[in-house]
Amino acid sequence: MENLAQIAMESVNFQAIMPSLVLCCFGMVLLLVSVFLERGRTAPICWLSIIGLVVTGIISINGWNDPQAGFAGGVVLDNFATFFNLTCLIAAGLTILMSDSYLHREGYPVAEYYPLILFTTAGAMWMASGTDLMTIFLGLEVLSVSLYVLAGFFRGQLRSNEAGLKYFFLGAFSTGFMLYGVALLYGVTGTTKVAGIAEAIRLMPDASSNPMIIAGAILLSIGFLFKIGAAPFHMWTPDVYQGAPTPITAFMSAGPKAAAFAAFMRVTYISLDSLQVDMSAMFWVLAVLTMTIGNFVAIAQKDVKRMLAFSSISHAGYALVGMVAWNEVGFSGILFYMLVYTFMNIGAFAVLVLIGKQGEDNLTLDGMAGLGYKRPFLGVAMAIFLFSLMGLPPTAGFTGKFFIFAGALKAGYVWLAILGVLNSAVSLYYYLRVMVYMYFRDPVEDFSWVKMEMATIVSILIAIAGVLYLGVLPGPVMELAKLSIF
């Protein structure tokens, strides 16, 4: 019996999981509340979930500079985790704001949608704050399972079904790879703690030639690379992004990706520090491959949603450049870039949500012709997000890429930085093409169906504010990102 008391004293520290705990409680309460609302009435759930996100955000911010470890070293709520938590919360908030009118338009006003987004965000938080491969893996699972459902949420639509099923099968497969990697690393080092693995590898004289460690590191990386949609594990991205409900696509490309980067960075930077040379070389190849494939295939796309899916692959490639650099500038660059990407990409998808018709939200380029004159506000908003995605000043896309490539240059990867900039130049082509259609083509449609939904407009305005603020005054947030590196 005294053992039990001892365990309870030592390991339980609810402070360390407070944000995710609050989010989960909100999710469960919302599930209960939704039972008592009449069918199809989702607005109260929507607003309650926003309140939940704000409360969680305040709790997260209160934990800044006050690192809390808990559960026998299974989680730690440090600045790094808090930064990513806030990024995911922003992504979830912007997504929920644009969701309610969209769900009603598409004929799926189902209350379960919002708790599932909250649970996904909680999973993302466990990933970002996990210091045990077990916690990270379970966080990934929580995040993935909710996303499988959300991707296939329009269960009457074949496209959405396909997205959910494809994501589920490939996701489960990649999770298997990751778990295999965890098992191998555990087999060599005898621990699943991130810091413990680092210690064990450091003490091993021939770690970088130990086949179990190499196989473990590679398999573990595959799991993360799948989640961030890096080539050659990007095959699922276009179909899933195109088929999933547009707000979910926006969320998937920002929040979960940021969480996967967080866990990936923690594991590689701490656990596999001794293998830096080999890992950096691997990331170099992957980063170039991911950027190039994403950009060149995006050129061929006629469908704007699918084009943004490929562009999200190339953006994962830019972020991977920060992993190659393996220094403070590169890592804080990734943190900054993930925040920037959240604003600009979700903003672009929010515009797509508004200009989509019921049942056909996959807008073709022709369908966007003349949008800039028919709907000036949406045109300008889309233009700002596209400029940011291109990486042009004074938008946040420029500063984000600048920090990441600066990290690569500082580490001596001149060619990588050059390839990255060249890739950005390629991406100008397909982003600018959307602008050309919006402003220099005669309108085919009159966009009379577009309803300016208040909540979605708010979401777009927040995203614009974020893009411009981070673009013009990146200093304060960049400082926070630097303070977040462990």
Partner: protein, 175 residues
């Protein structure tokens, strides 16, 4: 003795798994998979992990295989009644019979082996008590996260699996 058993069981596992993934009849595949799990369980026992061996049988060979059978029944993947009346032929019986006999033989041989000692680990490397403390102490968060996940996996499965009759009817009425 332990080495012989190890290779024997390894062989049974590989053969059973190969047969499981090549059978066209899903029920036959499940039977081979059960064989493979039993062989794995004996391997765990041989390595000095009787607790893991017990779970392998209870969870994998027991619970998960029943789940497989449920799904086969629900999707009606099993062969048609005509094919069923003929019953499996003797060459379909033979491999599974041989594998099962091999497993029974190995189990009897295990009586004479001091499990785990050959690998230099104590017979009870992890007692149920140790395991319980590790699970609800060191990995308490993991247990909680899994229980959370089960909750909303159920919510998601319920939502996705619910038939969509009302919507279809409405559409038809509209058209």
């Amino acid at each position: 003795m332990a080495t012989v058993l190890f290779y024997l069981l390894g062989l049974v596992t590989v053969i059973a798994t190969l047969l499981a993934i090549t059978r066209r009849n899903p029920v036959h595949a499940v039977i081979y998979l059960v064989n493979s799990f039993f062989a794995l369980a004996l391997l765990f026992y041989l390595l000095g992990a009787p607790l893991v061996a017990a779970w392998e049988v209870i969870i994998y060979a027991g619970a998960i295989m029943v789940l497989f059978l449920f799904i086969i029944m629900m999707l009606e993947l099993a062969p048609t009644p005509e094919a069923d009346r003929m019953g499996p032929t003797w060459w379909q019986w033979l491999p599974v019979l041989l594998l099962a006999l091999a497993l029974v033989g190995c189990t009897l041989m295990l009586i004479g082996v001091d499990a785990g000692v050959a690998q230099g680990v104590p017979r009870w490397y992890a007692t149920p008590r140790d395991f319980g403390f590790a699970l609800f102490g060191k990995y308490a968060l993991a247990v909680e996260v899994v229980s959370f996940q089960l909750l909303f996996a159920a919510v998601g499965a319920f939502y996705v699996g619910k038939p969509e009759r009302k919507r279809r009817q409405k559409k038809e009425e509209g058209a």
